[in-house]
Amino acid sequence: MNAYEMYQIQILDHYRNPRNRGALDNPDIKHRESNPLCGDEIEFQVKLDPRGRVSDVRFDGHGCAISIASASMLSERVKGMPVEKILKLDKDDIEKMLGIRLTPTRLKCALIPLESLVRGILEYEKNRKKTGRKK
């Protein structure tokens, strides 16, 4: 797949009109991740319902078309999803979601959003265990 094929309508649409971009009031989960190679930064904010499912999600940051489109699609994908299921998502899921094959360097761009989300969840679970708070 060459680069022109990589930038399909769907990717460009999510890049130019990202879904769920912004911030939440009092999110349960909030985490920022960056790619040291290119300086891309993606922050995810999540609110959970009492059963531990994503009730609302926002992301913000800056990056290339691949990372922004990946964040936008991922935000749509995880709505209503239990956090345990999000933790099981991997690079194949992201590639499938984007519908394109990526070179190893560009794969890093595509994976920042998932990394941000997963690390946020892990931090949240660690804190929850510490404080013993249930949600």
Partner: protein, 412 residues
């Protein structure tokens, strides 16, 4: 221009890789500030070492070791000749610019006290920032940075004011890897010396591209990498005035850097060997020696002139193109062959992917100079950096590709 003699076609014939295709297109290599391509004479020199006289240096009495040692030391002489060092003893082989700066930082900072100051600039590559930050933490010395103007020049007045009592080291790049700005390091070294400070010059982006004469510059240290100047990776140079090499403690301990080892203590070898612990990168040094010979044969004046023409041509073709945002000085006299920009509405990383599909290799991102890219108000930028084998016709391909990409993806 009478003195300018340069046959780019002939130069290109020396680089086997330039014949290859990328995604069905002729390769156009514009990522020379990251690493340069290698001419056949350098590849052959490395091959010849392993084929004919591979052995360790400075150790064996046997024939191969003597030949290897001779060639290794010959390479040191070539480097010294190229930068006009007082003697080959002032040339230390290191892994690259990064290791060279770390060597100076670690050994020099040992002599510093709390309250001493190190001065650098916002224009530096990470390799001339992070080692000093480590030293600042380790030894409690202060660290300060000089700002740039909006056009991308160092603020010389600020620099002068910041070199005050207690400043022990001024670490500055001769040429910015992001903006292409050529700094007047001769004046900066003078300012440093007037206040009793030393001056380290990062020559990673200057030594490959223009005549650099340490005698004229008057700097105390000059560091650069072999792989950006037609040599192999993993070899670089620290030039230092002999008096400094003699007064500094060793960086790493081990074989080759000692005169005598007893369990109660050791005595160091003479310079430069005191700083070359362990078996060195012999093939690297020999390859770098061949690269220096090659570049000197073309002539550093000619190389500078050729690149100046390429940057002038870039400004002619892209200087007023409103689909681009350009960064750095507009004066070709004060700018190396580095053209940095953003295509409006297209992230630099995406741009690099799309140009790759046209066979054009550029760099994108923060270019290992995050403070500088932040200072010019960007998070990532694109960079086309030229070398001896690049041609105006290749810049034409870049311009046409940029227009095409803008038509399809640009504008936002």
């Amino acid at each position: 221009m009478g003195k300018y003699r340069f046959d780019v076609k002939k130069v290109r014939a020396d680089f086997p890789i330039l014949g290859r295709k990328v995604q069905g297109k002729q390769l156009i290599y514009f990522d020379n500030a990251a690493t340069s391509q290698k001419p056949a004479c350098v590849i052959d020199a490395i091959r010849e070492f392993y084929t004919n006289y591979n052995a360790n240096v400075h150790r064996g009495i046997h024939r191969l070791s003597e030949e290897a040692t001779e060639r290794y030391e010959k390479a040191r002489e070539k480097v010294a000749e190229m930068i006009h060092a007082g003697s080959p003893e002032e040339v230390v082989f290191v892994r690259g610019t990064t290791e060279g700066i770390n060597l100076v930082a670690y050994t020099f900072a040992r002599k510093l006290q709390k309250g001493d100051r190190i001065l650098s600039t916002v224009m530096e590559h990470h390799s001339n920032i992070v080692p000093w930050q480590l030293m600042s933490e380790m030894h409690g010395v202060d660290l300060d940075f000089v700002d740039i103007t909006d056009e991308g020049y160092l603020k010389m007045e600020e620099l002068k004011n910041k070199i005050r009592k207690g400043t022990r080291m001024v670490a500055v790049t001769q040429c910015s890897n992001v903006l292409g700005t050529i700094n007047d390091v001769r004046t900066i070294a003078e300012m440093a010396h007037d206040s009793g400070a030393l001056c380290l010059v990062d020559g990673a982006q200057s030594v490959p591209h223009m005549p650099v004469d340490v005698e004229k510059l008057g700097c105390d240290f000059l560091v650069f990498s072999g792989h950006k100047m037609c040599g192999p990776t993993g070899i670089g140079v620290l030039y230092a005035k002999k008096e400094h090499l003699e007064s500094l403690d060793p960086f790493q301990g081990g074989g080759d850097m000692i005169r005598e080892v007893r369990l109660t203590g050791s005595r160091w070898n003479d310079v430069p060997y005191k700083f070359e612990a362990g078996t060195p990168n012999i093939e690297g040094a020999i390859g770098l020696g061949a690269a220096c010979e090659y570049l000197m044969r073309i002539g550093m004046d000619n190389i500078r002139e050729h690149e100046k023409r390429l940057i002038e041509y870039s400004f002619k073709k892209m200087g007023d193109l409103d689909i681009l945002e350009r960064y750095g000085p507009r004066d070709p006299e004060k700018r190396s062959g580095v053209f940095s920009f953003n295509l409006r509405g297209v992230n630099a990383h995406d741009l690099a992917s799309l140009l790759d599909a046209e066979g054009v290799a550029i760099r994108s991102g923060h270019l290992c100079a995050q403070p500088l890219v932040t200072r010019i108000g960007q998070t990532s930028i694109a960079r086309a950096s030229y070398y001896i084998y690049n041609m105006e016709s290749e810049i034409d391909v870049l311009v046409n590709s940029l227009k095409k990409i803008y038509r399809i993806f640009g504008g936002g």
